[in-house]
Amino acid sequence: MVKSVTSLSSSGLSNWMLQRVSALIMTAYLVFMIGYFVVNPSPSYDQWSNLHSSLGMRIFSLLTILSIAAHAWVGIWCVLTDYITVRLIGLKATPIRMFLQLTMIAVILFYVVWAIDILWGI
């Protein structure tokens, strides 16, 4: 069996599951945010920062950014391994794909650290 070092988990089944679980968490966060803005369309800074400085909301936001990270990793990996291939663009595909995958991972880690910095800096 061929394994890829840049895939998020070593099994396709785990990636499949991660993709679904992260989707549900992000959807829950989106529904919560829509509900919040329907009830309070124009929150003041105090209302907004009080909401996000509560522990429960910090955990919910953290779970969501971790879901975004996992979901983007699995999703972008699928797109890159489907289109940046030797069959489609020739032998240079492998180094280009490796470069793009590692860049993608770096951007995702940057997003996670940035989000944690925002959430615990309120």
């Binding site: 907004w48 797109v79 951007v107 997003y111």
Partner: protein
């Protein structure tokens, strides 16, 4: 394995069904969202950094260019979520038994996404 096997699949010459367009748009919107996360985090950061940054964010979001970026991010998100929910429903074994039901649910995704994106557009224009 021979690496130069002939490939008899010219996607450009094949008439694709609606399910293909819904699928490829799901991928495109996903890639757009990967970049849009940076915009959303920037907005989230500015909204929580301080009272001043919160106010200047409000001013910034009244500019048409900023509104265009927010619109793009939300439109991609709306489409991606609607198409993603179709996947989750199919994972439950609903509507994946034949091609016709797949085509029908793909059209439902298109219609719902258009309605939501139109609402987002209206909301941003009235803002």
């Amino acid at each position: 394995m021979k690496t130069k096997r002939p490939v008899n699949l010219d996607i450009g010459s094949i008439k694709l069904p609606i399910t293909s367009y819904v699928s490829i748009l799901h991928r495109v919107s996903g890639v757009v969202l990967f970049f849009a996360v940076s915009i959303l985090l920037y907005v989230f950061d500015a909204s929580l950094e301080s009272e001043q940054s919160f106010q200047s964010l409000k001013d910034c979001l009244s500019s048409p260019l900023a509104q265009f970026f927010i619109w793009g991010a939300l439109a991609a998100l709306a489409y991606h979520v609607v198409a993603g929910i179709r996947h989750l429903i199919m994972d439950l074994g609903i509507g994946e038994d034949n091609f016709q039901s797949g085509q029908r649910s793909a059209w439902v995704v298109v219609v719902i996404a258009i309605v939501i994106i139109a609402s987002i557009s209206g909301w941003i224009l009235l803002w």
